[in-house]
Symmetry: D2
Subunit: 337 residues, 4 copies
Amino acid sequence: MHTYASTVSVGIAGASGYAGQELLRLLARHPAARLTGAMTSSAGSGARPLPRLNAVWDGTLTPLDIDRLATAEAVFLAVPEDASAELVPALQARGVGRIFDLSGAFRLRDRERRGRWYPAATADPGSLGVVYGLTELARAEIPLAKVVACPGCYPTAALLALDPLMRGGVLDDSSGIVIDAKSGISGAGRTPTERTHFSEVHGSISAYGVFAHRHAAEIEQELGADVTFVPHLVPIDRGILETIYTRVRKGVTAFDIESAYAVAYSNAPFVRLTGDVLPEIKHVAHTNFCDIGWKLDAQTRRLVAVSCLDNLVKGAAGQAVQNFNVAFGLDETAGLL
Amino acid sequence: MHTYASTVSVGIAGASGYAGQELLRLLARHPAARLTGAMTSSAGSGARPLPRLNAVWDGTLTPLDIDRLATAEAVFLAVPEDASAELVPALQARGVGRIFDLSGAFRLRDRERRGRWYPAATADPGSLGVVYGLTELARAEIPLAKVVACPGCYPTAALLALDPLMRGGVLDDSSGIVIDAKSGISGAGRTPTERTHFSEVHGSISAYGVFAHRHAAEIEQELGADVTFVPHLVPIDRGILETIYTRVRKGVTAFDIESAYAVAYSNAPFVRLTGDVLPEIKHVAHTNFCDIGWKLDAQTRRLVAVSCLDNLVKGAAGQAVQNFNVAFGLDETAGLL
Amino acid sequence: MHTYASTVSVGIAGASGYAGQELLRLLARHPAARLTGAMTSSAGSGARPLPRLNAVWDGTLTPLDIDRLATAEAVFLAVPEDASAELVPALQARGVGRIFDLSGAFRLRDRERRGRWYPAATADPGSLGVVYGLTELARAEIPLAKVVACPGCYPTAALLALDPLMRGGVLDDSSGIVIDAKSGISGAGRTPTERTHFSEVHGSISAYGVFAHRHAAEIEQELGADVTFVPHLVPIDRGILETIYTRVRKGVTAFDIESAYAVAYSNAPFVRLTGDVLPEIKHVAHTNFCDIGWKLDAQTRRLVAVSCLDNLVKGAAGQAVQNFNVAFGLDETAGLL
Amino acid sequence: MHTYASTVSVGIAGASGYAGQELLRLLARHPAARLTGAMTSSAGSGARPLPRLNAVWDGTLTPLDIDRLATAEAVFLAVPEDASAELVPALQARGVGRIFDLSGAFRLRDRERRGRWYPAATADPGSLGVVYGLTELARAEIPLAKVVACPGCYPTAALLALDPLMRGGVLDDSSGIVIDAKSGISGAGRTPTERTHFSEVHGSISAYGVFAHRHAAEIEQELGADVTFVPHLVPIDRGILETIYTRVRKGVTAFDIESAYAVAYSNAPFVRLTGDVLPEIKHVAHTNFCDIGWKLDAQTRRLVAVSCLDNLVKGAAGQAVQNFNVAFGLDETAGLL
């Protein structure tokens, strides 16, 4: 275990939501971070107890206070996208050099797409110094970023499985890519709705957002290819599993697939390649790992890849902390194992 | 299977809640009932689709309309207690002779207790012709009732287990009665709250309402004895299991207990005595049965009884239909097996 | 409700498994069936209590006895496929004219495929008078069948969604068909294994049988087209939901899809078309319905169809009873609503 | 965060069971432990992959080898009680000075009780240098122990809630103590049985072991009083919640209860007192905390206390590590936060 001579002061806005609480839990015991403020999403929402964190974190959740938040060297935002759209420039104006934004406000570079899915996010990500922060794919750029737009949970799982195949040139361009995603309910956020009512979810499964989920736009932007993406709600709390269907080029072998992944993730401490033993959510829940496995039917060239992670850790708070580690030159795994 | 020459016209108010939907499902295929109206809880709330009932019931849910509701011979109320407190006199004034009320408005006879737990229910149950309708314990009075106050889910399970022991005189008066109840989430109703959010319930268990649950008052009224009642929320959708702890009088044997139950329920088609094989929720879910088992430690005179049922069927809609059957002289099991 | 002048005597082998218990529950209260024997899967396995069925069915489960079983006019087999492979000829030799087999022994007509997936099933289905009994697609042939090979749960959901599209000629032949299936654990059967251990399943999701599930062969045989089929285990008890990805021919409109389904199922009491409101497992659990919805992206010609059912009812016991109803000229819904 | 100059070599037997895996996870990253061997429960059972621990622990699980195991300074046993009964003397004979036994073999001091519940454990705990290791109640003795008999999960929750009340003299001796316990399924161990089959557990609750659970003997030994203890299986993976019913002496106030707890746990980093906000499993899952809350009805002197913990952490592996920390003079929380 590493010990650090100095620490970075960090603040959190939105610490009472599900991703925010996870962030708080991770940062409270991070060996190189010094938590100077944990705030709610708005000035109006008061302190609430977080019983799970008693005796782990002895601070108090306070209402959002931008000036005080801006005294930290690094700020994590786990707030709705419209709040992020306002907070990022406000914090930069107050001199905050590093912002880790978990919302979707600055993920889409294309103005039209951003306008469709995140209408409140009118600022151009480029002008704010934003980098799209899927750690494994952006390690070189993150240290230069002023704002790290942390990816959505679905895109993280999809891109980690697909990017090495795209870069490796093993996929048949003419065949489509289908991503069938299954997600736990914490991904829907803390606000009670009919969709998140226990009795509506328990014992059931449902598809939603077919041809109309903003995470598809995010996947397509980063992948440079169209995908068919259908998310489903399943009765688990945490975790996402994506089953990806596509086809490889003529002549591509199982060894080529394995090599493409091995090369891509040889130095990635949080990607575990499981080969043809397909991964399961129970092995990644409550961790920052993304597990990826695959099966190739060489004769028909069909490839099925399965990717899974904990939506609140690698899909949200954990990846934000991983980005923080990379940005500040710390061990990438600090506070995450 | 029985067929009936004539049918009774029935109406439902509050058919979109969990108990109301179950009522609708049961009455839509009841061999002696003719559903003439299925309405929501208020005049303002419009029709909503009930996909589970498609092709089972081809009617449409309409907003509450008292005049139209009052054209039925029998009316079922699955509405909040304050709505029941208003609807019962209004329906009686329009000539409805039989009302089956699933709310708590008319369950407590004592004015003070009623005032504490159901402040909206100011009318005296006696003057309205109310009978407390735990079917097995009130079969003789139900045919004479104008209003059947259908019991709560917790009291139904508790009283069916305890009443034969009290009447049989086998319990040691000086020892207390503890009822530890575990309930599925549908008992909390359809309105989304933090309490019913999937992510708050999944993987957890919590006690609530200690020394302060209105169902304790209902149990004590019917039992004529004080109880310590603690309900718990567990991550299942349907079902209640109650573990009851008490002590028997000196000399009481296992045979005495068995006899007390056997005599009480010799003609009760929906009470299944399981002896010392303790019952489990999975055997009663989606049925109108209440299963009761027990263990006696003769040496220390400690008795543990376990009682379980489906909170939406025997604990709500099913028992209301059972009461309807008894009230109209039909086979007690009609539409319930 | 229909009443029947005469009843058919029926026997069950394998009544203690999950599908078998469901069969027992359905036949015990079927208005036109008279249960003359409920047996286990083998002569050696003794009677076991079925607490869920107490007071619903007052018979006793007995060890398998072929001679006694053969006295029934119709026999239901809910036994492993090797047992079915032996029982079907043995029962026919004893004169049983109608057998409803829930196993896979006689589903595959092609000898090579059958040899691969069901090596114990050496007899030729054709010579035994077998009809593949997906009721909605085989209504005309079932009355003529001596043996109805009831379809698997996965194929039932897949074929009901895909068959009308194939027959309607709306699919683009050159594009593949992907079937991503999610199943409850009861589909894995009653034998305890690591796969079915609660702690391995709860909070997790896993894919299995990729490119190697025998239900794919069944789907392909009936559909006359290749499919990519990947089943997943999800932490629910009952129910299957399949998300189907394919592409339509140029010029095909949403209306064409709707028409194809409407024509196919105009007289199908157990298929509910939900249009572009996608179906969910909670609406079909504990029923014999198969709900089908879909979304077409006209511009890219991508079609996503979602099909779901209860694997133990429409996917097993319910469909067997539905086939029994059709075979004996009864109302197709008898005993199933 | 503390760093330690030297480390203690530790070995584990039984590392593939649920408690064993948790032990492995905790010890693999413990700042003062050096894992020298992780073995299965017997010489015959080979290595199996533990996918959850990939990239967390890079060792290999090997078959049990007593000689090699005995080279460690401290040994953890997560094996069945009969294996512990053999291993403890064998390891001591080979010079192992510190053994942390998670089984029940050496928990009961009374020969007769031990003979009834753990017949394989014939050795006298006293002669082996055993201390019953409920950390909070045995901190002074643990450093002197040769063998720490780590408590069962149920007794840990019960004793932490009841011991301060007994010692504080606030309970009414003449009134009984009822402990209604609800447990997750991982407590039943990894072996697949009908009891642990997902479909038998999901949606259900069941009581078991009434008047006949060996943990009652353990609670009674440590408490010095009789209890009525009824455990229940509920459909969660991890966690135990116990609701305890008793009565206080005349004159005892809420302040007295609070004081009794506050005094007992003023220096206990893993006991969190929640006062009259009753604790819930979700706040302790995956942690080493035991949360305790209570409600007193002063008028009737009834006290309801609720205690909960994670059965695999504070109820098993976590407490063993906590005992290891105390035994070796490390920070009590090392490796546990």
